[in-house]
């Protein structure tokens, strides 16, 4: 298992939201927990069953941050070998969920 930490600057804070979870820690899948953060920017912590993919995570997560431009997020991921496409999907799903959720 590998633990990775990322932080991205910039973006706009979302409307207040409650902690939100999408996904499942199953083979080829991942769970994503997003919580409000008082910090600017976006912090993402990843526990992943597959080692050595730091650069891929960096690219996928940076792409996610640029796509949504949201700040004030603390994101925690438990990954069980999901592909970049599935990772991006879950991240998009969790953003959609917090934008639809009233606290």
């Amino acid at each position: 298992m590998e633990t990775l930490h990322f932080a991205f600057d910039g973006g706009t804070a979302p409307a207040p939201f409650a902690p939100t979870l999408v996904g499942v820690v199953a083979s080829g899948n991942l769970e994503v927990l997003v919580e409000p953060s008082p910090d600017t920017g976006c912090r993402i912590d990843v526990d992943t069953s597959a080692r050595g993919f730091g650069a891929v995570w960096e690219a996928v997560l940076r792409d996610f941050h640029e796509r949504h431009g949201i700040a004030g997020l603390s994101i925690a991921i438990h990954d069980m070998g999901a592909t970049p496409a599935v990772v991006s999907l879950r991240l998009d799903q969790v953003i959609a969920a917090i934008q639809g959720v009233t606290p």
């Binding site: 298992m1 979870l21 499942v24 820690v25 899948n29 769970e31 927990l33 919580e35 526990d47 990954d79």
Partner: protein, 298 residues
Amino acid sequence: MHSFAEMSARERLAALVDAGSFHEWLPPSERVTSPHLAQLGVPAAFDDGVAIGRATLAGRAVFVAAQEGGFMGGGVGEVHGAKLVGLLRRALRDRPDAVLVLAESGGVRLHEANAGLIAVSEVMRALLDVRAAGIATVMLIGGANGCFGGMGIVARCADTVVMSDIARHAMSGPEVIESAHGAGEFDSRDRALVWRTTGGKHRWLCGDCDVLVDDDAAAFRDAAIAALDAQRPLTLEALQQESALLQARADLDDDNADAFVLWSRLGVPDARAVPDLDADALRPLRPAAVAALARGGA
């Protein structure tokens, strides 16, 4: 129809209870995770594979637990088990109308070995306390992984077991049996054999499950509502009757016969047609004798 089997535990839970009524205890944001998996190099789950809390069902107060079969096969580890025990002990204190468990589990989480084994036993004792207190206990089994091992035992300690026709409820998986005694004993690749030995249709015909439904979330919800008042107290008489029933059935298969043969002996007409029937078509074929015993003669 929304396939119950294809839903995640949380999706099933949301579909089961009254819309928006679920309030989770020890939610993912509290990060009550396994203290053991990191040492094994395995990622944790924020809820350790089970979501618990209170909700309403048809307006009535219930406690619910939903096991996520995708995480470690739904296996019961130390924290997962303790969440279930806590839920059951809280039920004794707070007296909801029922405790509902969406059970999908391989049993003891082998990665946590001893802790899982003890936990399963604690869940069993706590469940029986709830049952003895007259609070309805309901197991809803409809996941692709089925309900096996220690959870298979625990589930049958409840008042009501609801199964879909594609679910399985048993002790050991076919691979384990084949591993121990060969494909001749149990060919794990013969899916038809596996399902007629441990699947919902078989369990229904034999009286091992109390309700048979389609693989449909709405059907599970309807069955759960009906089960809110289906308590079956474990009296001495009830257990003596259960002993006799199970022994009589074991005697019907003293020659190690296949399910088809057992069904015929139980009185099911046209046993060979069973695998092709859906739940609605199969339901009335449960032998009258089995049905009578299943509901204490009612």
